[in-house]
């Protein structure tokens, strides 16, 4: 029973912390991008706009929930939930410190689990597009599905090199394997590069944010959503960002290892650094076109990831 209680506490703690992080991620994003554009970002609500995120959440909660008359009510309702739940589930095997005591579940195929679960979010997106009964939504959903399916391949393949080097798929094992030797970002730089690109695409962020390209499809799959349902998509997107950043920190940057500071802090620094890069990219780049994105995925990233696997295998076998 105490074990179950502990688990429950852990779950609640993790989800709360992550959702809070998400809320402040939005704030940080607006601040960072704002300053990159020489404007201050949110600044009126609270000290330096620090209460902007709670205010936004409140606004979204009390907003009217609009359902289009022609929408499929059930699907329209279930889609945001289907989008958010996998994103939160994917947090389970992420180790926030070295020993893994803050871990919810140490699964021996942790990374695979994350990839598999977070991929379920696509259902949410497709159903959102389908259920809204709008051409714009549907188009966004189709794009999103195609994009996530193809980049999932590259994402998975880019991590294979890491699995080969560490000999495990468990997040804890992978980060332990790096603490003795160098971080995998050095031997696996190709894999890291592919991972980064695929991760940006996977989370639908600029320069790969076609599903919600606001200037073409207005907002893509969530154009017909408002209020809390819209917030769910938002939460899912940012939670996904945190998940992919955590995988990157664990698999390529040595997880919670680092000197002087406590491991948890190190871990968070690494994750936040990744999030910062997400914002930075968003501030800088134009958007790819749909077909160009697919081309990059299939013709460039996947071969590169495969090459990385082969090279790692050869080195592993002969050295």
């Amino acid at each position: 029973m105490p074990a179950l209680l502990l688990l429950a506490i852990k779950v609640i703690l993790t989800v709360t912390v992550v959702l809070l992080t998400v809320a402040y991620c939005v704030y940080a994003e607006r601040k960072v991008i704002g300053h990159m554009q020489q404007r201050p970002g949110p600044q009126f609500v609270g000290w330096r706009g620090l209460l902007q995120s709670p205010a936004d959440v409140l606004k979204l909660i009390i907003k009217e929930d609009i359902v289009p008359t022609k929408a499929d009510k059930f699907i329209h309702f279930i889609a945001p939930v289907l989008c958010l739940v996998p994103a939160v589930l994917a947090l389970a095997p992420i180790p926030f410190n070295k020993s893994g005591s803050l871990l919810i579940a140490d699964i021996n195929i942790g990374v695979l689990y994350i990839l598999a679960v977070s991929e379920l979010g696509i259902f949410g997106i497709i159903l959102a597009g389908w259920g809204s009964n709008s051409k714009y939504s549907l188009m966004g959903a189709m794009r999103s599905a195609a994009q996530m399916v193809s980049y999932e391949v590259a994402l998975g393949l880019s991590l294979v090199g890491v699995f080969m080097m560490s000999g495990s798929m468990s997040m804890v094992e992978i980060s332990k394997a790096q603490s003795g030797s160098v971080w995998y970002i050095l031997p696996q730089f190709l894999g890291f590069f592919v991972y980064c690109v695929a991760a940006v695409a996977e989370t639908n962020r600029t320069p790969f944010d076609l599903p919600e390209a606001e200037t073409e499809l207005v907002a893509g799959f969530h154009v017909e959503y408002s209020g809390m349902k819209f917030a769910f998509f938002f939460l899912a997107e940012y939670t996904n960002m945190i998940v992919v950043s955590s995988i990157a920190a664990t698999c390529f940057l040595g997880g919670a290892s680092g000197w002087l500071l406590p491991p948890l802090v190190w871990y968070l620094i690494k994750v936040y650094a990744f999030l910062f890069i997400f914002f930075w990219l968003r501030a800088t780049f134009p958007r790819y076109r749909y077909d160009q994105l697919m081309e990059i995925g299939w013709k460039f990233l996947i071969p590169l990831a495969l090459a990385n696997v082969v090279i790692t295998a050869l080195i592993k076998a002969y050295i």
Binding site: H35, Q38, P40, F285
Partner: protein, 147 residues
């Protein structure tokens, strides 16, 4: 593609330079200002809301009721009613500027021969009722001054 460009392409030179620009700006000061908190100061020539002025020495209204401003106004935003006083002098009974119709072209101030109607730097008039947007003579004189 030369070898140099190829190396640049592989090492993502263009993208790195772009990232450099945004990073450079991250440290630069903010150029916007928080509008409602910090007031926007219009230039001297600003063609804002109208004012009617009085004469400095006599304290009488400068307006002589020539109605040139009413005539030139392209949008018929000005309505003037005049009458004759007992001594035969023309008096301006009412002077109405419908700020809702006005397109702030500045012609009225430009043609007024006695510089009675002028435009202030007041750029933001806010009213709660639509009717309040119409300015009458009293308000116009209050907004103006003497010189």
């Amino acid at each position: 593609m030369g070898i140099k460009e190829f190396i640049g392409w592989v090492t993502l030179k263009d993208l790195r330079q772009g990232l450099g620009v945004t990073l450079k700006h991250l440290r630069r000061p903010v150029v916007t200002y928080p509008y409602p908190k910090q007031e926007f100061l219009a230039e001297e020539r600003w063609r804002g809301l109208h004012t009617l002025w009085k004469d400095e020495n006599t304290g009488l209204e400068r307006c002589i009721g020539c109605c040139l401003c009413e005539k030139i106004c392209p949008n018929w935003a000005i309505t003037i009613t005049t009458s004759h006083a007992d001594d035969g002098k023309k008096v301006v009974d009412e002077f109405i500027v419908n700020a809702g119709r006005c397109l702030y072209c500045g012609f009225c101030a430009e043609v007024c021969p006695v510089r009675a109607i002028r435009q202030s730097t007041d750029y933001a008039r806010k009213v709660h009722k639509r009717g309040d947007i119409i300015l009458n003579k009293k308000e116009l004189l209050e907004r103006g001054g003497q010189d």
